[in-house]
Symmetry: C2
Subunit: 357 residues, 2 copies
DNA sequence: TCTTAGCACTCTCCCGTCGAGAGTGCTAAG
DNA sequence: CTTAGCACTCTCGACGGGAGAGTGCTAAGA
């Protein structure tokens, strides 16, 4: 929709007025009147003049009136224009940066803890909903496997990814395997399969099984069996959502129907992942507002999100979800900073710090 | 408060009428009129007679009127009486039992997964909020420890409790320790400390450190150091809450203020744990309604909960939280069945099944 | 003595009205 | 091109009346 709008038509004065409307609306959550723009902008124009301009802006698709004789509210197109060319970013305060870095110290935190902390920080510092999508296991590169005997034929398989994600899986073997042999198998698998993705490993194992089933000895058979069961983690990306209740105080969620729709949206993880995935391409912060997307338009919400990852590899997305009327000047740099900090923390977990001595 | 009420005063007819009021209110969520009781009960009494009785019941503290000339609503005392002596339990349908048992199969599920599934089942089958409290780590009995080298000085410590709970903790050691030695240490600690609680183990280690620091050799020092860091899990009980959004459809949550208070209540984990802990004593299902407790009375909610555990050892509590107007006949047996099934599943995880061959 | 029909009373809820207030659009003059 | 002025529109809260539901009380009946 926003492509259809001819922004070239806007004079500097039009832009100034539109900006004032947006800023005021972000603060007040109410339709903005011509009078308030006239008073607060430094243009020295009367309300009547502002009204003429606002009528134009409405015609061009940047403003809407909830009803005749009400003030005006910015559209998604207006927010996009504001973000792209009318807004100066507000830097993340040093205090918040310190706070974030303290909470995302990579030492003694695995990736899941980092992701959880990130989600919480996003929510806490923006007073909106924080969302982080974790990478699925299929494309994960294996760092280490370990089998721990826990009782009888039950074995705990611990899988560590190269980016610090950990998964546990309890498996049942056909016969009891002594601790020493489990350790041999752990070592063997870690050494031989470390550095490959779980998908590659699974394919390899299936091939091995098909080819050599006949001449396999008992030890190899056990190894393959354990690997097949333990490394068979095909779970997709997970979504970590934090702070949904902070939005309950906002005026835009004063009616139950919208609250319900919001929680239904959060319950539909697959749809959330799909929405967040739109921000996977590129490397910077991307903003989805209203009409772009079903979920955001349904609720009049926006999504400010960016991908995170280690080196060239993108692992997932993180972002803030909340009413379109949000403080983009603050929120965009915040998402950016958290994305970089999380990426850095993940990179340090296993490669930096203690490794480079 | 309920102790102060003289239930002996109630004639069988009074009880019948009270029961009818409660049952009707549970279905309708509205104040119950004398006329509707007169029509639906089989007493063959006129509305006027019912009115007299209801006036008495109100005087005795079992009913209240939202306002004059409205029907009547049961009090917490009425629900308690209903549950204790007026209600026949409705058995959990065989279909639901099967569904539960399928979802709580102990094989290849660790305790955290079982707890998560239980919480979800509680919510799904009751259409209320499901809550499960996990045991804190301090009193947990160790089953196995395992150290996995992941990179440089970073070591992943995996702790498995005797009841199937698993925790991972990434620790940083002073120097790089070879994989083989880590495995020796894992074996040593598992063999020597298995069967003790983490608190006991920690005390023992501290004593060891104080006494023998001088004559410790390097290997022992490392072992103790790893044990001290890895087994230092003092996290308290966790609360797993599921299905808060299912309540949004209920008429009692039609105003935002109550929704907010409900979510604030869920955010205050410590208070939830405290409330649930009231149900730790005894072994059966316990019901807290309104006035008994600040959280339930604040929201006009009830808690139906029971402890779960393995053998003599109580591990935690599980229950259902929702508006006092809930279907106790269905919900109490459901909580009971889920409590037993979860306990059984946890018991089987490590002792049953594959162990007894 | 218990039950019940009858009736007056009370309270909620819905609906229409009304006036204030806010904001706009238009017009005509500067 | 700007702006003051004015009529117009729409929301919102207050007010009020009428319908409906339900009660409490009373007096008559079993």
């Amino acid at each position: 929709m926003s492509e259809g709008i001819d922004t070239g038509r806007l004079t500097p004065r039009d832009r100034e007025i539109l900006k004032e409307v947006i800023l005021t609306h972000i603060l007040s959550a109410e339709p903005v009147s011509s009078r308030s723009v006239s008073k607060h902008s430094h243009l020295g124009l009367s309300a009547a003049t502002i009204r003429n301009v606002m009528a134009d802006l409405e015609e061009w698709g940047f403003l809407v009136q909830p009803h005749t004789s009400a003030g005006r509210v910015p559209t998604a197109a207006a927010y996009h224009l504001f973000i792209e060319s009318m807004m100066e970013m507000r830097k993340v305060p040093a205090k918040e940066k310190r706070y974030i870095e303290e909470n995302l110290k990579s030492s003694s935190a695995d990736a899941d803890q980092l992701v959880g902390a990130t989600s919480h920080l996003l929510s806490e510092l923006s007073q909106q909903v924080g969302i982080v999508v974790t990478p699925g296991w299929g494309e994960t590169v294996l760092k280490a496997v370990d089998f721990v005997p826990v009782s009888g034929r039950r074995v705990l398989c611990v899988v560590v990814s190269s980016t610090g994600f950990i998964d546990n899986k309890l498996i049942e073997t056909e016969e009891e395997i002594p601790r020493a042999e489990l350790q041999r198998i752990s070592n063997y698998l870690t050494e031989n399969f470390g550095g490959q993705t779980l998908r590659q490993i699974r394919d390899q194992i299936l091939r091995l099984m098909a080819e050599e089933r006949a001449q396999m000895d008992r030890a190899l058979a056990r190894t393959i069996d354990l690997a097949r069961n333990g490394l068979d983690l095909d779970s997709g990306p997970e979504v970590v959502v934090d702070g949904a209740q902070t939005l309950l105080a906002r005026p835009e969620l004063s009616d139950i129907q919208r609250v319900r729709r919001m929680f239904e949206a959060f319950a539909d993880k697959a749809r959330l992942v799909r929405m967040l995935s739109q921000c996977l391409l590129g490397s910077g912060v991307r903003v989805l507002i209203g009409e772009d997307n079903d979920l955001t338009s349904e609720l009049d919400f926006s999504l400010v999100a960016m991908p995170y990852g280690v080196g060239q590899q993108t692992l997932g997305t993180l972002g803030i979800f909340g009413p379109s009327r949000m403080d983009y000047q603050k929120v965009i740099p915040l998402v950016h900073f958290l994305g970089e900090t999380l990426s850095r923390a993940l990179a340090e977990t296993f490669s930096g710090g203690s490794d480079r001595k």
